[in-house]
């Protein structure tokens, strides 16, 4: 509308007489109004779904009850870091008592519980309540849906794993520890966090996409992670007893947590602990390849799973 159009009604000349003002207490039925504002399309919808998924992973925007577990897990991840920092500062240590990536390997169980509880939340609701046709009758495609959900789960996992290490790093800086050493090792830790997030999100989402029942999803994910860890431990033990000390590390292949841990330990030449480690340089490359294959395969399987609705 140009200026000229609105002038007669909205802008009164100075000498106009006060006309009868409309009564203020009238309810106007404005009827149906068409929407002619912007339509932001697929990428915007995908981003919205990502933000919703990320918030949902921590129970934000959901009921109080849904906040308890993810927020609890986040607290459990962070509290030891705060304690470590406090002890290190109090006893005036020159260095943190724990490597950054090592912190995550010690708390693998917490990461597993988080993914087991939150991956089904991301997918099972839409399956169970059959909301998917509503998404896919909009510009959003099934591939966009998978991308948004995967990215949201990955980001949630990354926040969960990176936050405690960030606390440790801030603590080390407050205690005036070596800046360059801590920054470098925080970097190692963040690489480890990204690997955990990638592998665990992929496995968790693929399993939860198979069942509309959240309970089954939770049980299947936690079961898979625990059993694979136990089996790889047993295989490692048997091989070590038989004398295959370095070859025994191949057992890490069937244990997602051990896989990431071993790979990161080798990559940054960190101190070994427990049965973590790579069998050989070749083995290390195999481990890296498996991490990538796990991530890509789970993405591919999800895309496949949602292609038909």
């Amino acid at each position: 509308m140009s200026d000229a159009d609105i002038r007669p009604a909205d802008i009164k000349p100075a000498d106009a007489k006060p006309t009868a003002t409309p009564r203020a207490d009238v309810i106007h039925d404005i009827g149906y109004r068409h929407y002619d504002g912007p339509r932001l399309g697929r990428s915007y919808a995908t981003r919205s779904l990502f933000v919703l998924g990320l918030r949902g992973s921590f129970g934000l925007g959901r009921s109080i009850k849904s906040k308890i577990l993810p927020m609890g897990m986040l607290a459990v991840m962070c509290v030891p870091a705060v304690i470590i920092v406090a002890v290190a500062v109090y006893t005036k240590m020159g260095q943190l008592p724990l490597e950054y990536p090592r912190y995550l390997s010690n708390l693998q169980f917490v990461i597993a519980v988080f993914i087991a509880s939150q991956a089904p939340v991301a997918l099972s609701r839409d399956l169970r309540f059959m909301t998917l046709p509503l998404y896919f009758s909009r510009p959003l495609t099934s591939r966009d849906y998978v991308r948004a959900k995967f990215a949201a789960m990955f980001s949630a996992m990354f926040i969960l794993t990176a936050l405690p290490m960030l606390i440790m790093w801030i603590g080390s800086m407050l205690a005036s520890m070596s800046f360059s050493y801590n920054l470098e090792h925080l970097g190692y830790g963040l690489v480890a966090a990204a690997c955990y997030a990638l592998v665990y999100s992929g496995i968790g989402l693929v399993i939860s996409s198979l069942t509309p029942r959240r309970g089954f999803g939770v049980a299947a994910i936690i079961g898979l992670l625990l059993i694979s860890e136990a089996v790889s431990g047993i295989v490692y033990g048997v091989l070590t007893v038989k004398g295959h000390h370095s070859g025994a590390h191949w057992a890490m292949l069937i244990n997602p947590g051990g896989l990431v841990d071993s790979t990161v330990t080798w990559m940054f030449n960190l101190r070994h602990q427990g049965f973590v480690g790579v069998p050989s340089t070749f083995g290390a490359y195999v481990f890296i390849a498996e991490i990538l294959v796990l991530a890509l395969a789970s993405y591919g399987l999800l895309v496949r799973r949602y292609r038909k609705i």
């Binding site: 009827g31 149906y32 109004r33 068409h34 929407y35 504002g37 912007p38 339509r39 932001l40 399309g41 697929r42 915007y44 919808a45 919205s48 779904l49 919703l52 009921s63 609701r125 309540f129 059959m130 909301t131 046709p133 509503l134 998404y135 896919f136 009758s137 909009r138 510009p139 959003l140 495609t141 609705i309």
Partner: protein, 322 residues
């Protein structure tokens, strides 16, 4: 402009042919798609949304090709599925806002449109409560609202009256009528109940076994056969007086064809507006009471039962034009 055009549209699954050379041309308005369960209604909707490829033939929605321009179609079309699709633990407002954003509306516009749309479908204070506690009628309204929230040019409603009681059915049908008359949005509504579509739709397309049975306007179906059902009381002062016979003689004398339908109802052919006046005057002159005078149309179903038989004879039908 045609809203939906299909040309020899065919969809074959390994075991069954869901759509068999379907050719229709749907104009703006409320269009009913009728067929028994498994007639191919839902398959047609999926193809029209660009979600499933056709085996053969082509289709255009709002002038856009379903095979190549699915994105653009889905931006301009709303869809209400037949089955339950609402999460019970969120409120109608939260849910519809989310769906509006999935359609590409910015957050502020999504909230505003949601409030408007929920009001238009008749959900007020309850929209802030979790959907789990809603009645079936309210849930159907939420499903309709999410299909309308992005102000589409066409909505595809799959069995919107499913599971509703008679009153709920009437409300939903009136609402669907308003979607076109007040909102200016074209509607394709499926049902397996002909009676419903008769009241609601401008046009009806009937498919059976994936084949087009008939496609024409509702008025065309029923116009030729309009009649008035008239029922009068006896004279209280003179119970022996045969009021029905007197009415019949009176109206026949005025040149109207009158048939009795067995009970006390007379079916009077409508010749125009003056028919109503004639009946009123006849009742007044004879000193009778008028119990009812209502338009009675032949039901579409009768037309179809006849139609199905004749269609079976003439399988090679010209492309139907709604």
């Amino acid at each position: 402009m045609s809203v939906i055009i299909t040309d020899n549209l065919t969809k074959r699954f390994p075991r069954v042919t869901a759509l068999d050379r379907l050719t229709v041309d749907v104009q703006p308005g409320v269009v009913g798609l009728v067929g028994a369960n498994g007639a191919g209604k839902s398959t047609l909707i999926k193809i029209l949304l660009g979600l499933a490829p056709a085996t053969e033939g082509s289709a255009r929605v709002l002038g856009l090709d379903v095979a190549t321009e699915g994105d653009a179609i889905r931006e301009r079309v709303g869809y209400m599925p037949e089955h339950d699709c609402l999460p019970p633990d969120v409120s109608a407002t939260e849910f519809v806002v989310h769906m509006a954003r999935m359609s590409g509306l910015p957050a502020a516009a999504a909230r505003e449109r949601t409030a408007d749309t929920l009001r238009h479908v008749g959900l007020y204070e309850e929209r802030y409560r979790p959907i789990g506690g809603y009645s079936t009628g309210m849930k159907q309204r939420v499903k309709l609202a999410q299909a309308l929230v992005h102000d589409p040019q066409l909505v595809l409603l799959d069995e919107p009256t499913n599971g509703l009681d008679p009153v709920g059915r009437d409300d939903m049908l009136a609402l669907i009528r308003r979607v076109h008359s007040d909102f200016g949005i074209s509607v394709l509504v499926t049902s397996h109940l002909l009676g419903e579509l008769e009241r609601t739709c401008d046009h009806v397309v009937v498919i059976d076994g994936g084949k087009l049975l008939r496609s024409s306007s509702t008025a065309e179906f029923t116009q030729a056969t309009q009649s008035l059902a008239v029922e009068v009381t006896d004279r209280q002062s003179d119970p022996s007086f045969d009021a029905d016979a007197a009415m019949r003689d009176r109206l026949t004398a005025a040149g109207l064809s009158v048939t009795a339908d067995g009970s006390r109802v007379l079916l009077v052919e409508i010749k125009g507006d003056e028919t109503y006046d004639l009946i009123r005057d006849a009742v007044a002159d004879l000193g009778l009471g008028l119990v009812r005078m209502e338009q009675r149309r032949h039901h579409i179903s009768e037309v179809f039962s006849y139609d199905a038989a004749s269609a079976a004879d003439a399988t090679e039908e010209a492309p139907a034009h709604v």
